[in-house]
Symmetry: C2
Subunit: 140 residues, 2 copies
């Protein structure tokens, strides 16, 4: 739980505050080995921060995504899930079974540079989810 304290200076430096609610949510995300939905995060984080409410979870996740501490991505059902930032990667999800696999960010880097030059947009660094059909489901 105290592992989340290491983010406090980053927040304060930008005018934000560290709170028990944010600590609990960051702690949950740090120890997750997969993406989590807001509901899952709420269920786990409230154990550490009793009194935590769902609106706070949603607001906190959006906040943490804004300051780039966490990454949102879309699950196979199209809903938002969250994970800690760092270790850039993307996802391919199977349209049939929902099975998921990670993609190295390096595979997309040249595309991002291409998009930036052709569109004029900058800082394109989306966490993208692609959809396809996995090897298993191709068998059918």
């Amino acid at each position: 739980m105290t592992c989340a304290l290491e983010y406090a200076p980053q927040l304060r430096a930008r005018g934000y505050r560290m709170t028990p609610q944010r600590m609990a949510i960051l702690h949950v995300l740090r120890h997750a080995e997969t993406h989590l939905s807001p509901a899952e995060i709420y269920k786990k984080a409230r154990l550490e921060a009793p009194g935590l409410t769902e609106p706070t979870v949603y607001r906190t996740l959006e906040f943490l995504a804004d300051i780039a501490l966490v990454r949102p991505s879309f699950s196979s059902s199209g809903h938002l899930t969250y994970e800690m930032a760092g270790n850039d990667h993307h996802h391919i999800v199977c349209r049939d079974c929902g099975g998921e696999v990670e993609v190295e960010h390096t595979l997309l880097e040249s595309l991002y540079r291409l998009l930036e030059t052709t569109s004029g947009y900058r800082s394109i660094n989306s966490h993208v989810t692609f959809f396809g059909v996995c090897p298993n489901c191709q068998a059918k």
Copy 2:
């Protein structure tokens, strides 16, 4: 409104049915010049199909996306919007102002082939939304 009738054979060939509700929704999408949210589609389509309900709109859009007649994509707020399929393209959305621009699908084609060979997934043909900062917002 009758323009939607041309999709009837496609549906029937696959065991599905054409209904007034689906006609109205397809008609709205055919004449839209931008992406529409389920709520917008509901408001317009109910004029053609009185008695149409929101659950039907959501179910129909998911159905039409499944059979690849329409394309879902994420708006700047992260919500799903829909447009007719055909004319492959993608989007870049500005993180600041939400401004949006289209991207030729051809720019992504070699990436898709690369993803297919490295992941084993097939038929990767997502309609992707990238996020960045538009030229206007870069000025600030």
